[in-house]
Subunit: 325 residues, 2 copies
């Protein structure tokens, strides 16, 4: 495995994913633009295979394994989106997948991962460490661990969304002043920022995280990787990782303009607005970018901004509550 992701690696990933990953649309709404006072282009990654961007990296990483290693199978730990990405990729490649997931993961993420044929092992987020559990399963069963973000192939796979954004924005006559993307471990934004730095270097890129889980924002400011306190709570289940990845931080600290944080209330308002104006289902973690515009964490001020909506795997009960406001 290479030591760090490269732009050539993103090109190679795009070739591997052709015809397998969805080229998700870049959506725009007249009403949304008017309401927010600028031009907002939504990269709709909830329309990606498995309902989130994670399939891009998972397939890219697993498909580059040596055939002999690949066929014994893979293991991953994930709150649910990487889980489905790995399960779907393994199914396509005809190999077994074991996924370590928290017991309190959204039901839709658990059931979809199982429906994709993966074996699911549950753990307790408060008492057990998912990394060591994943590594134990890997060594006990001889499986290859597919990490959620600190893997060059994963970052390069996620970066393919960035190439699409640049091409689609160009076709829409849009010059991107900025891009906002959700940030958990930081793999999506690392890959996307590499692609944009190559193809659209004037675009300023910001990570967006839930309040109290803004480890990337604080780490960017401090110039070193900082952990979250662990006391916070948020319904953005996809974005609760404890600290930036080593590899992702190396990229993000170089390429990002800064990091933003948003409240769960603004996230709910963003999910409603996406329902009303664009007819798409965002999960909480997928809607933080738009929440930053609603809450004013980022001042739109007539600019043209791409907002990456990373996924839509949300339980109906949560979505119903969000629609109630």
């Amino acid at each position: 495995m290479p030591e760090y992701p490269t732009i050539e690696g993103i090109h190679a990933a795009a070739a591997r994913l052709k015809g397998l990953a969805v080229e998700t649309p870049l959506l725009e709404s007249d009403l949304l633009n008017e309401r927010l006072g600028g031009r907002v282009l939504i990269k709709a990654e909830m329309l990606q295979r498995t309902g989130s961007f994670k399939f891009r990296g998972a397939y890219n990483s697993i498909s580059t394994l040596e055939p002999s290693i690949q066929k014994t199978g893979v293991v991953a730990y994930s709150s649910g989106n990487h889980a489905q990405g790995v399960a779907a990729a393994a199914k396509l490649l005809g190999i077994p997948a074991v996924i370590v997931m928290p017991k309190d993961a959204p039901g839709i993420k658990l059931s979809s991962t199982r429906a994709l044929g993966a074996e699911v092992i549950l753990y307790d987020r408060q008492r057990e460490n998912r990394e060591s559990l994943g590594e134990k399963v890997a060594s006990d069963r001889g499986l290859t661990l597919i990490r959620p973000y600190d893997d060059p192939f994963i970052i390069e796979g996620q970066g393919t969304a960035g190439f699409e954004i640049v091409r689609q924005a160009h076709a829409m006559d849009a010059d991107l002043d900025s891009l906002l993307a959700p940030c958990g471990g930081g793999g999506l934004i690392a890959g996307v920022s590499m692609a944009l730095t190559e193809k659209s270097p004037a675009t300023e890129i910001y990570s967006v995280e839930p309040e109290d889980f803004d480890d990337m924002a604080r780490s960017l400011q401090a110039g070193e990787r900082l952990e979250n306190s662990g006391d916070g709570e948020s319904f953005c289940d996809a974005l609760l990782s404890p600290m930036p990845g080593e590899m992702t931080f190396a990229v993000n600290s170089r390429l990002l303009k800064g990091g933003l944080a948003v409240s769960d209330g603004a996230v709910g308002a963003a999910m409603r607005l996406l329902f009303e104006s664009l007819k798409i289902v965002a999960e909480p973690g997928g809607a933080v970018g738009l929440a930053a515009l609603i809450e004013g964490a980022f001042a739109l001020d007539g600019k043209t901004v791409c907002v990456v909506c990373s996924g839509g795997n949300v339980d109906p009960e949560i979505f119903k509550k969000v629609l109630e406001g």
Copy 2:
């Protein structure tokens, strides 16, 4: 105005709409395919500008008016989707629009039409006739009436979705055995069936309507235009037109294989399934095609079928109830 729609007219419409209408994606879900037992490709027209396919025809029709006629403005009658299509097209062209809408139209359709700058005139569906009201407003104010389906430019505009479906299915290595599309007045399915008959002649095309509003299905069978009884009820507000259009029936009676009808219960189940598996918001009328697969009105049996989902303009209250099941 030409007397009937032509395939050349659909090509001309596609050129006019380029860069203005969204090329909506053709979506597929591994889980959906497995659950239904076939290959289902969803044409996601809720992702179209204004949240339904109607923008295609409305812009195509209005943009072909003589400039002197165009600038005095247009009027339309509509339960809400044609309303928004006409309002958005008029706004783009910088001309005034008046829309005659039923008082009980979904709130989201009323507010979005107004937000697009149109003047809305409300009428009572039980007591007033929308056609004569629309014609009266047109003659009183010197506006041009943009009919919802019996207009060659409208049918040709809607037909552009058919060209996209054929191109997108080809890129996905899919040979379409059948296509199912919602049917109100029949403009969408008329245009789409013209496009498919040209580009994918082996594909069998079916209209789908709510039970008790299956005027197209019964008319196809009888070989003449029949009315609905008027006693039925359905929450598919976009599909409640009283009988097939004259022009649309002339096309549909020639090109459709048949017509299907579905219950509101199956429509709700289809809306839930689209939420879960594809993360898209369908309005009731937009989900009838998938409902036909769920309910068995159409036997999927391993076939490859395109299901057109025509719109997503649904009030949060209705969507919440649908998620509750």
